[in-house]
Symmetry: C2
Subunit: 463 residues, 2 copies
């Protein structure tokens, strides 16, 4: 059952070649004495047009049985296509029908379906133009991420999914347990006795692999994670998922400047790779979903990113002849309206803002000499807003211990993290990128649930 992929045939094959393809029928048209089928195998947006004539064995019964959604293997000869929109078509010599699709019950008939409806049939929606294109772009972007880091000697490290650390974001953690929930063991304080659970203590799903990635960077210099992370956040928005994939590079002997350089090179690389390998899909998004996605991609690829400090950003926002919903003053967290004003209207290109007030940032970010700001960075892009957040990490043991205590956390819970500062500590830095957010921005898709095969959101874990 050796088949060739339709994308490759459309691009490279020549008339007179004999080929066999396998795929699903998108449409069938019967004319007098012959018929057309558009066949798609998921390798490209474009279908291969198949021409059938009555010489094809079982012509009449095939035409009766084949409807939208049927699966076929077709062997035939490629011929130049007289129709417009395609270079070649396939003149069938034999057609095998593997699976019918009853037009009365097959949900994907040839009409537009809402994305909401398609989510209820996520097991079939990959066969539509839009979701097909999304999944190809998603793969191309994921592959570009690996190539970017591997070409630069970074190790892909698998940080744990199940973790006993609850120090980041306690309220938003899913609990992982093997206890019998109907008969939960109690301890003397009438709490749950997690010492009897599988891991001997309470365990959660990870919200970030960063702390463990730091461990690995302090042995291998340059590493990255690319794995699933979780938030038990009851957010029913178009930008939140309970389960999503995150990319987190971490570099030893690297400061905030190096971190910015890497983030800029990284974003340019993945946007360019996707344009190179999925141009047809990206043009589809630009035409049908959001007519700014190509412009946004080109903007990221072709411009040197702006770089300003948070303090400079606040000054620019204060000078803006614009009334913001959230008033601007030093110390606030930048809101989406501020970020978009800076990137879209003022700079008109991607912008890295650095050195945020320490009070709005995480405990592990390196304290600057001013004692007020930390070596954090956010990368803002036009039409997108924040796409990357990162920082140089605090490598000084005493400063880190102080920060941990100030945040009301217990240093002993992070004994191993502190050990990294105790033994051979080095300046190091990294950043995080939400993979689905990037795919959403690339494609212009309105809802993040449509850029992951099987979205997990409040009250929804189907398939």
């Amino acid at each position: 059952m050796e088949t060739r992929r339709i994308a490759e045939i459309l691009k490279q094959a020549q008339p007179d070649e004999t080929v066999t393809i396998g795929g699903w029928v998108r449409t069938k048209r019967e004319l007098k004495g012959f018929a057309f089928m558009e066949v798609n195998d998921g390798s490209s947006m474009a279908n291969l047009q198949v021409v059938l004539d009555p010489q094809v064995p079982s012509y009449d019964s095939l035409l009766q049985q084949i409807n939208t959604g049927a699966s076929v293997v077709v062997t035939g000869t490629l011929v130049p296509s007289p129709g417009k929109g395609q270079r070649i078509e396939l003149k069938a010599t034999s057609v095998t029908l593997y699976g019918e699709a009853d037009p009365e019950t097959y949900p994907l008939q040839k009409k537009r379906h809402s994305f909401e409806f398609l989510r209820t049939i996520a097991h079939l929606r990959g066969r539509t133009n839009t979701l097909g294109a999304v999944m190809r772009v998603r793969n191309a972007c994921a592959n570009a991420i690996h190539r970017f880091f591997q070409e630069r000697g970074f190790l892909w490290v698998h940080t744990p999914i199940i973790t006993a650390n609850d120090c980041e974001g306690a309220g938003e953690l899913f609990t992982v347990t093997n206890l019998d929930l109907k008969k939960l063991p109690r301890n003397e304080q009438q709490g749950i006795d997690f010492s009897q659970d599988f891991f001997g203590k309470r365990a959660y799903l990870t919200v970030s692999g960063q702390l463990e990635a730091e461990i690995m960077a302090l042995a291998f210099q340059n590493v990255y994670t690319f794995g699933p992370t979780f938030r038990a956040e009851n957010s029913n928005t178009s930008r939140h998922l309970a389960e999503f994939w995150m990319v987190e590079p971490e570099m030893a002997f690297c400061d905030l400047d190096g971190d910015q350089d890497l983030a800029e090179a990284f974003l340019k690389y993945i946007f360019k790779s996707v344009l190179d390998s999925c141009l047809e899909d990206m043009e589809f998004f630009n035409q049908r979903i959001d007519n700014t996605v190509l412009e946004t991609a080109e903007n990221i690829i072709n411009n040197e990113f702006g770089r300003i400090t948070y303090t400079e950003a606040i000054e620019l926002l204060e000078k803006a002849d614009r009334k913001f919903e959230y008033p601007v003053e030093w110390g606030i967290d930048l809101q989406s309206e501020h970020e978009r004003y800076l990137a879209e209207e003022l700079f008109k290109k991607p912008l890295i803002v650095t050195n945020y007030p320490k009070d709005i940032k995480a405990f592990y970010m390196r304290l600057n000499d001013d004692n007020k700001t930390v070596a954090a960075m956010d990368v803002l892009a036009p039409k997108i807003g924040e796409i990357i957040g990162g920082s140089q990490r605090e490598e000084r043991l005493n400063v880190l211990e102080e920060r941990i205590k100030q945040m009301g956390m217990l240093p002993e819970d992070l004994w191993w993290y502190l050990d990294l500062r105790r033994f051979g500590t080095v300046p190091h830095a990294g950043f995080g990128l939400g993979f689905e957010r990037v795919v959403q921005f690339m494609t212009g898709m309105g809802n993040i649930r449509d850029v992951i095969p099987f979205p997990r959101t409040p009250l929804s874990a189907d398939f």
Copy 2:
């Protein structure tokens, strides 16, 4: 802080080049009027030897402060090395000490530590020779897996980690919950009311992405998963993890023959890639850990895999002049002793066994015409045993429904899986490979906990 990697310097750099490196000191030796440091940056097993003389600023205080484990950045000139074992060494002109490591408390002194001990300091063990080599091989293998599939047009698909399907292996599932365990809501039957949980129903950690990978294959033809999977199995063995990474390709328009072809090409590719990119590390394993690992790798790379049916395998085992602990008869599941006899002693090369009795295999495997066996395959390798398990999937709706009922499962729980057979069904096949098992076999490491950065096992979820 632009540094070059030591692996690249040792391989390519020439005498007289000025370079800057960053890394951790493995050993320091003081001689009369000069000193040596072996510096490692995780990019290779080999260290770069650094020569210091009193002209280096702060020579005396540096030598006092630098001990095993200290982190340094060194700038200097490469010179031919008079010592044996290295082509070049670095004559330092300046040394920056970033982090000391107190010899009284730093756990990784220059002596051999047991792997058990190293697991208790998993945040530092990547700085040892063995764990360093393991993590480089692990990365090389992971990268080879992506390249293999991407070169062949397979899409990397992210199947869900959190799932509401409990149809495979109910007893071994971790529960994922957001309920307050101290006040669990009850339903009318006094069970737990999971409708109030985050996902509105009981949710688990996935044990396999296969069923969802089938969804994607039936839209994109060729796909693969590479992600974490989970078993809440109380197995304290050297081959079990509660959290491990799995690779699961799935191909539409593919039968058991195509499945075998892919598995064989895949194994050859990843073993060859690792030998090509990590030969120094592999030689270390062969010398220090298991002196058969190179031979095993070559055996996999250079031999055409044997292919026999389960029935033939039983006949061969019955003919063997050998007493097995588990008696051989048609219908039994092959035990490790049987698999190793076949692959190691009889065939002396990798071997694919196909068409197992249906009663010992999963419900989704395609029923053969004999009505007794299914189109399953196991790939067995010398010294390793089963390394891959796969099958052609049952694509016939009525046969699949029958099998599901026979197994005591409810077809309505798998409505979407059955839909794939209802609408445009096609022959399809795939297999699964436990990533850590492969890394363990490649490296010869005795315990699987030493081939993943942060192992999760019963009573252990540290770091």
